[in-house]
Amino acid sequence: MSSDAMAIQAAESAGQPWVETLHEWVTTVDHKRLGILYIVYALIFLIIGGVEATAMRIQLMRPHNDFVSPQVFNRLFTMHGTTMIFFVAMPVLFGFANYLVPLMIGARDMAFPRLNAFSFWLTALSGFFLYFSFVGGSGLYGAGNAPDVGWWAYAPLTARAFSPGHSSDYWTVSVLVSGFGSIGTAINIIATIFSMRCPGMKLSRMPLLPWLNLVMSGMVLITITPLSAAQIMLLVDRYLGGHFFDTQAGGSAAIWMHFFWIFGHPEVYILIIPCFAFMSEIIPVFSRKPIFGYPVMVGATICIGFVSMSVWAHHMFSIGMSSYSNAFFTLTSMVVGIPTGIKIFNWLGTMWGGKLIFKTPMLFCIGFLFQFLISGLTGIMLAVSPFDWQLTGSYFVVAHFHYVIVGGIIFGLFAAFYYWFPKITGRMLNESLGKLHFWLFLIGFHMTFDVMHIPGILGMPRRIYTYEPGRGWDTMNLIVTIGTFIQGIAVLVFVANLIYSYFKGPRAGNDPWDAWTLEWSVSSPPPEYNFASIPTVASRRPLWDRKHPEDPDSRYE
């Protein structure tokens, strides 16, 4: 049935002129195509952000290097951070959510397809706008082009007095607009999940990926908006003569920090929770067991969602808050580690007693587990505010958060790519190239980010374009840089695998992994309408029930 539909679709599109294909893609409101657009967009910016990182690492590989000027370096770290958070991580995760959520809940599309497209294009165009700053940002002669105020854009560095020209405005406006796109997608995901589940799919039977994306989307609504508010205030300061962050007029620099981190901390949970979702879908399939403790996994995520809104000032331990404030945020930052740690135990419990299959998706999952554990522990160290007074603002923190974002989120994303690429394209990614990609990336990752903790302990602050020799930082920085190149090669292997397999990979069929959620019940790729008839489900693993009618999950739930 579905393969005939695919054959007809393929035959139709094969004959049409490329402008028509382009027009289809640009005007699409189909969640699957928008998902692919988000993912491809994010991959392009991943490469760009990676080039920025590599340039910084070359500059830092020895002291007093002059590969780039201080002005360029400061723009590089600002653009690298802004790009990776807003134009790589957010889009790629929204892309996977867009693609998978309707399929996993038995729906034909998202609740608001046109809002979906609008949100994507807002994000996409704001990314291009940010990069236009390299070309058009100067405004005032000699005032620089791309923003150079760091991705947190602390006040009063962003005031007209200290950031003349328009470079800071490119940061403000592009992130503000992409924030509106994120809010639109979050609204869409929530409405889709509440209003479009197939019959029988009570919330307690919904797979963990939609569940965790629901929590993530709820967080987006109240996390991105404080940043939007702060950015509007910054624009009022810069263009209407306002004084929100004007210390000369009695304003407060610290209040920008509060507003920013009220966004900034929950934001990193917004980024990791969809990766938890990937783990929760992939690890069970490659352990051949259901997720251990489904209700707790949901409960712990909701807990994380709430508690993470109360920890933000652990990014501000050094600004001189009172001992009571510091103690409070120490406590909440430690408490948020409890539900997070519980999830690691639940994944461990899923693997325990199973039959583990070490295909590439599972390799990346195992890497994730070890690395997320380590970064959670360095996070506990940073939660201890006196310890943080030494470690914050240093390369220890840079190592910690890259451990989470690269060792956790990127590894999780690679697992998701290898797992769902067959569904999206109908072809399997090459397993040998996948393993090569994994091992190269693992080695490069650890070479860079394990070693990077050390200069932080030895007193090296972050955001410096060069450093003094003889402080014990020189060799470490060189090793960190070498690891960057190994990771770069691994990513190129990955991109080559993507391109090669798209054209020449073996056909995947509906269900290459013998999995249990609804997306594996349709063809690969799915037809435009997803399901010929909307399914009805009786348990959390409808395909397990179909494959094991003698022992369905519905008996145990």
Binding site: L221, T223, I232, T536
Partner: protein, 198 residues
Amino acid sequence: MSAITTPIVHAPEGWSLPYRGKVGMACLIIAESAIFTIFVVAYLFYLGKSLSGPSPREVLETPIFYTICLLSSSLTIHVASRFLEGGKRGAFLGLWLLTIVLGGLFLFGTGQEWHRLIYEHGLTISTNLFGTTYYSLVGLHATHVTVGLVMLGVVLLFGLAGRVGPEQSARVETLSMYWHFVDAVWVVVFTVVYIVGR
């Protein structure tokens, strides 16, 4: 894995899910509430911290009449929705128009107040911390009222063209959720600016 037949599972009786328009609007309201909260926090934080220039007590006059206008518009829009559900298009349109008029009066009142503050007291957004936070908070709210009035106006036009009937009840109710939100925000802003802040 492709030859498994799908067993017939009967759909549970009465499988009904919430209307997606209302869920979406509720989400939008939550997001907007967060934005307003940040502006309210900034307003409260900066109370009394202006280094110079007019202070709230010196220049603010409580806009009781225009507040009553705005809050009654919540009542009129609610009744209009009910009329539409019951098929009474004429009554719906009349009350809908009244809602727009009341909202417009509120905006007019805001404009009047701002004119007085700027020209009689010299308070602008750049005068001092009070000016910045006041105009930003009240202005953000007024912007939301304006957007709401535009949407209400669009529905009025469609209604006058005879295209709004009981079938569009759910959509009209979704829009009136937004309008209620705008009013609720005004209750908060009013309390913070004209009562607490003085």
